[in-house]
Symmetry: C2
Subunit: 144 residues, 2 copies
């Protein structure tokens, strides 16, 4: 089995056929066509799909994923090095997101202690004073 049908892709990636067609329309994956206009996927497209699903778990939009994937070579099959470079970038994003969540967790822990959650001296959310001055809300903890 050289090329994969959309059914194969769906079965092997765990992504619905409709989603695969959608990804193709959005320029996230590619396929060639048979004489009868059916999609045939190269094996390495599975890797693209895998990358997409991982990136989504990290909280990245399809638009951003599309941009990242656009950096893979057009003319040749991506090498391990190509994928490694992309993965490393995602790992950094993932670590940033983990750090954000940990900050959130630590501050929420503090707020459990005082039972405040948005009261005056709460470090997590302080709509009264600090945030009113900055004109923004709870977002400040998230992207400080």
């Amino acid at each position: 089995m050289e090329l994969l049908t959309i059914g194969d892709m769906a079965a092997r990636s765990g992504v619905a056929q409709s989603a695969l067609r959608f990804y193709e329309r959005e320029g996230l994956i590619r396929s060639t066509r048979t004489g009868g206009n059916q999609r045939r996927y190269e094996r390495h497209e599975l890797r693209r799909v895998a990358f997409i699903r991982i990136a989504q778990q990290v909280g990245v939009s399809l638009e951003e994923i599309r941009e990242a994937l656009a950096e893979l070579p057009e003319n040749r099959t991506p090498t391990k090095a190509d994928w490694a470079r992309l993965s490393a970038r995602w790992r950094r994003k993932l670590e940033a997101r983990i750090a954000m969540m940990e900050r959130l967790r630590d501050q929420l822990t503090g707020c459990i202690g005082c039972g405040c959650l948005s009261l005056q001296r709460c470090k997590l959310i302080n709509p009264e004073d600090r945030l009113a001055a900055r004109g923004r809300g709870p977002q400040m903890i998230i992207n400080p």
Copy 2:
């Protein structure tokens, strides 16, 4: 200033007025009305809004948030203890999410080493063998 107008709420919480009206329609927050039908918010509603935005950052849907908030007392202003209980529950959710992301990070790190990403022996995604057998895709790392 005893009660807050919707403008005050928006300014102090950083959440748009339209969103506050939406939250009210969805039963996430409450307000009383003036004789002229304008919304007036009790100060502690700010805490609800704060809780909503934090929970959203943890990746919880409004529906789940609504259910959690429904556990707060209807008849009285929530006490610190009420909020503390709710916060503690969210902290657990947050920790679970952090753990998931860390697992993802560690496995992605391994995959950077081998440059595979969905190749046969990759621990992160293995659509060929293990997943084909289970009939699911990359999801397995996320909720193992």
